[in-house]
Amino acid sequence: MPSLDTNRIQELEEDCALRSELQGLLGVPEQGFFSAEVTPELVALAEELRHEANRRRRVARRPQPTWLLLAAGLPLAFALVGLGTWGIQQKHRADALAQAVEAKNSEVQRTAAQAAQDRQSLSELKLAVLEKQPLKRRTGSRPAELVIPVEHPAATQLGQTEQVKAVGR
């Protein structure tokens, strides 16, 4: 067979000799028995096949719709993941804040209860102390005085007051 492709391996001499020997044994003619005449029909068929190969190559190179969809969906997926992460973070934050508020509330309630209790005990204590004290002590050592401004005629000087004794004394 004639060398059709330029990269065809150059055969060893012993291989060529072996082929000739085998051709002799089989009775195969040394020259190719297929005609290699380039007819217009064969050329037309070859061209058709070449165009078909080019067409398939172009189709194969075209990006697949699956990849396009994936590429388009990727930003959306990233956005969704980001949004989800942010939402989870916000939820954690809200939970922590709610816990803090609850703790604060209970603290306030506890303090208020304590204060009420303290007030109660204080008033009770005050009452008990007051009950134990004598009346004289309660009224105090200093006599109470009532100062009543007296209106005098115009001749009377301003600041002139009259001292009266307290009622019941």
């Binding site: 067979m1 085998l22 195969v28 190719g32």
Partner: protein, 177 residues
């Protein structure tokens, strides 16, 4: 439009055989051989298989080192797939020149004596011998087509030669190379 696109392509990678004219020559020489080769495997549509092999070869983006071997290998695979799609693909050219299955159209191209001699060989040796002697492929190319080591191809060819010698000279001395 199609011609324009063809023109836009770089000349070097236009066809695996080189320029378009060289491709036409290679196609004219190889196409009938590949059709015949597919027919010998019992393909129902050998022309389609040979054409498909050419399209597959030229469709490839990566260059093929040995286009002839690639074409033969593709035709073999496609023929076997067409024949027995669900069965084991690892079989040799068992039906080569077997009665009733051989390519009737090519019968006049080979001498009856040759056919008879080939028929007596073991199927395993027959395939390697056919590719080497009739198709004129090199040992390396045959190894590539059959997906076997080169040493195995050589062994098969030498054993086929011994069998042929035995047929021609039964009981005589063996002249193994």
């Amino acid at each position: 439009m199609e011609d324009m696109e063809s023109f836009m392509q770089p000349l070097k990678s236009e066809t695996p055989f080189g320029e378009v004219s060289e491709f036409h020559e290679a196609f004219a020489a190889l196409y009938p051989r590949l059709v015949s080769y597919a027919r010998r495997y019992g393909a129902t549509f050998p022309e389609d298989i040979a054409q498909e092999a050419f399209v597959i070869l030229m469709q490839r983006i990566e260059p093929v080192e040995h286009p002839t071997a690639f074409l033969y290998g593709t035709v073999r695979t496609l023929s076997l797939t067409e024949r027995r799609p669900m069965k084991n693909q690892n079989l040799s050219l068992e039906i080569v020149l077997e009665p009733g299955k051989g390519p009737e159209a090519d019968d006049d191209l080979l001498h009856r004596e040759v056919r008879e001699r080939m028929k007596t060989l073991s199927p395993t040796f027959r395939e390697a011998l056919w590719l080497f002697v009739v198709e004129g492929l090199s040992i390396k190319e045959i190894a590539e087509i059959l997906s076997i080591p080169e040493a195995t191809v050589k062994t098969r060819i030498f054993r086929a030669k011994a069998q042929l010698r035995e047929q021609l000279n039964p009981g005589g001395e063996h002249a193994l190379a």
